[in-house]
Amino acid sequence: MENIIQSIKNLSIGFKSKKGDEISILRNVTTNIKKGETVGIVGESGSGKSTLALAMMGYVKQGLYTIKGECLYKSSNLLKMKSRDLEKIRGRKIAMIPQNAGQSLTPNLKIGYQIDEALSLHTSLNKTERNNKISELLNKVRLPSPDTMAFRYPHELSGGQQQRVAVAMALAGRPDLLLLDEPTTGLDVTTQAHVLELLRSIAKDTETSMVYVSHDLGAIAQVSDRIIVMYAGEIVLEGPARSILKNPIHPYTFGLLKSIPKLSLAGLPGSMPGSQPQPGSIGIGCSFYDRCSIAEEKCKKNSPNLEYVSELKTNVRCFNYKNLEKFNYKISSSNQKINVKKEINQILNLTDVSISYAKQKLLDQIFNKISDTNPTVKDINIEVKKGETIALVGESGSGKSTILKSIAGLLRTKDGKIKFKNDRELSSNLKNRDSNDLRAIQLIFQNPDESLNPNHTVEQILSQPLKLYFGLNGEKLRKNIIELLQKVRLGEFYMTRYPRQLSGGEKQRVAVARAFAAKPDIILCDEVTSALDVSVQAAVLNLLQNLKEDLGTTYIFVSHDLAVVRAISDRVAVLYQGRLCEIGPSKNVYQFPSHPYTEVLLGAVLEPDPDIKPKLVAEDIVEEKPPEKGCSFQGRCPKILGDQCKNETPPWQIGDNGNAIRCHIPLKDLKKQQLS
């Protein structure tokens, strides 16, 4: 028992509702963290995983309080400790790496100061020793030029760099236990893979214990020795990472794993019905009862206890887990195949489109033109066929959303033509489009919290496009709204609800319904699932696919998640710094030969499988501007040839699979290098 760092016993944390009832967010959590071990805590939003992580530091958010139980660090209960004593443990014994480093670094203090603060609080080093230590720490987290980095402010760093600073700050006190709260969520795929790699090597070198909290099983799989799965404030499954990921014997974990889209599999992931119960609405039975496919009568009345399964070394909270194993045929086979419909009709055509964010000079404003030799987005040629789903993929700054905005008419193009249906040119200025064109192209945004008016009911939200484009009113309008809600699998009673009364998935369904209300030809989807939990994401992807099959809509789907793109799209276009790198049918883009950038992206994808490790082929440097000439990827390309790549724009090469790659390296050589 001596190598246990922290033990949590019967911990329940909750709040008092307005009626005075005690509502638990965490329910009876018991677990131990051992020395040198990395524990992954996984669960969807609202499962209580962050509350648990904060409790491990003796921190309970405002409004919440400890109902019962304790959090022991070296036999002292952190939750009952005085704040003066806690200050000596926080940062020194237990350190936190926050979710959003950008918002967690104090904006008016320099990086060096913030690390120095941790050092002066938790070590006995003098000023010069501390300065050396700062450089050493910045070096350790692999930040470029550690000496000048210390004098920079948080906002001057990229997201990945900020996260590294947070890691350096946490390491400053040489803690026994590191708590990581979604440390890579919100970072680009390549950056995420690099930060995870860094964390893993730090854990190995320093023998620090880590608690890694995330909703992303892919990331958890990469770092954890042991995994705890949380659902509605309870631990439902706990055991060694490998057995959890390979043999998920709890029906929730099984469903969760199934709903994650995977690179190796085409087709949509299976979705779980329903959503997690709200705290306070959990009855006497099993909290997963409503969504469970193997539930029986007894699950409704009794709440199962954690049961130890010795052959898997796993604790499971389910009466019926033995029955699940019958369902537990290969996870892959439940994935649906998309039947790709071949449509020849072209619906949208982008020719040589360039878009510039540069501020217009006075003279250009007068003559109403945009002069910028190095625009943000350049030379985009994409042909979209009716009824297909084309995906635009790339990291942040790749111009994918910019292109979407221009198609929607929200952003003026600098050059090039956007042609819609029968080669008719669409004005890039929204004011010059007629109402029929406006109707034909609809947008669905990333965050439904921000795209739905919080003061409108669902009925008002859906009636707007119907009134605007079709002049419906009265009974007819109502009938149409109900029909739309049925299409997105929401009941009639949702009409009177406000967005705040809906869950994240329900909100996004309303947003989908609003887009479909206009009976559009093309729907532009801007990262529509990235704000959603995985099980909800699977449901929304399935919904989009079904609607498309029924109504023959065309999707232009923007995403940074290659696995999601793989699941839903027919064709993929890979973008870097606003320039196309590769375009082709999705199954071919995911096969070699690939553009070196596609290879980098594919290598960085995290799969929920401990046997598949990401391949980090290029540094995750952030480039602020595309290069003036030559290949757009020259700054980061691991295969760069030399002057040719720096000076000449690479040619399009058509591979035998039908995908086009823009690279100087002959496809034969690319393929040979990539397969070896």
Binding site: L54, M57, Y59, Q62, S83, L86, E87, K88, I89, R90, G91, R92, A95, M96, P98, Q99, N100, Q103, S104, L105, T106, P107, N108, L109, E117, A118, L121, H122, Y153, H155, E156, A166, M169, G173
Partner: protein, 318 residues
């Protein structure tokens, strides 16, 4: 940086020009003028003509504006129509008096507001907050003419500690003025402090709820160090602009308070010269008040700019 200052000063001059134009046109299109007000019922025939000639009102309006603007640029605001003396001489002591009043209110009010705002935020929903917040909300809601009148009633009439109204010549020395300004300063500071304390409170609370404060707590930073290093610099940045507006409002003369206490400041001069149709004085006042607002806002923006590292490096990168 320098470019920014030059640009802002240039824009400030344009604002002043527009202000002068608006006041000129405004007083011009209103019925009546200085002569009709001065002559009252005799305002007809030869007397009116003579008055017009004497005051230079017989030349066309635009010519009057141009010659006036020409003089202003050289620092001469011309003659007051009613008092028949150079406006510069009228304004001088008034500005001084207003400055004295404003400075006293600022010296007392701003630190007090900051302290009260920070206390209420740090002890949010506890006894100190509830007590102070109730008082500040109360102070905010009483109009100044009522609080001023009550102060006169209690302190000057019942207790007879201080003079109730200020009956001094406009050009008294500072020490003669001092006992006279105590009541007006209290009346002004009350409402100003209450407003600012509320603002500071909400700003501090907002920062306290941010991720980086949670992070600082989890890092083990001691409470007061956290407050002074992590909370206050970020919470007080947005307060700078509000403080600046308050100062500008004070310097511009607190009309109601000055009238209640009969205080010879800029605010009362505004009322007097408008009712006398004293166009040159009104013009001069408009220009002076506008320049106070413009320059104080400029100073506030520059301060925010200097103190906010985000804005600073943005500018450098450009």
């Amino acid at each position: 940086m320098l470019f920014l200052i030059i640009k802002r000063i240039f824009l400030g001059f344009i604002t002043l020009f527009i202000v002068s134009l608006i006041t000129f046109v405004g007083t011009e299109i209103l019925p009546g003028d200085a002569c009709t007000t001065y002559l009252e019922r005799e305002a007809y025939g030869a007397a009116l003509e003579a008055c017009y000639k004497r005051l230079g009102l017989d030349i066309p309006a635009y010519e009057r504006y141009i010659s006036w603007a020409h003089n202003v640029v050289q620092g001469d605001f011309g003659y007051s129509l009613s008092g028949q003396m150079p406006i510069n001489e009228v304004l001088g002591p008034r500005i001084k008096n207003s400055m004295v009043l404003a400075s006293a209110a600022i010296i007392i009010g701003i630190p007090l507001a900051l302290i009260l705002g920070i206390i209420t935020a740090l002890w949010r929903d506890k006894l100190p907050d509830i007590t102070i917040s109730t008082i500040t909300i109360f102070a905010m809601t009483i109009p100044e003419f009522i609080s001023a009148t009550l102060l006169i009633l209690i302190v000057a009439i019942w207790l007879q500690w201080l003079p109730g109204i200020v009956i001094v010549p406009t050009d008294v020395t500072f020490f003669e003025l001092l006992p006279n300004i105590i009541l007006p300063v209290i009346a002004i500071a009350m409402i100003m402090t209450a407003h600012m304390a509320r603002m500071v409170r909400s700003s501090v609370i907002q920062v306290m709820a941010s991720d980086y404060i949670q992070m600082a707590i989890l890092k083990g930073v001691p409470y007061w160090k956290m407050v002074f290093k992590h909370v206050l610099p970020n919470a007080l940045l947005p307060a700078i602009n509000v403080v600046a507006l308050t100062i500008a409002w004070l310097l511009g003369g607190v009309v109601v308070t000055e009238v209640v206490f009969n205080y010879p400041g800029l605010g009362r001069l505004v009322i007097e010269s408008i009712s006398n149709r004293d166009l040159p004085t009104v013009q001069a006042l408009a220009i002076i008040l506008a320049s106070i607002y413009v320059s104080i806002n400029l100073i506030a923006d520059l301060m925010t700019f200097m103190l906010n590292p985000r804005l600073k490096s943005l500018q450098i990168r450009k």
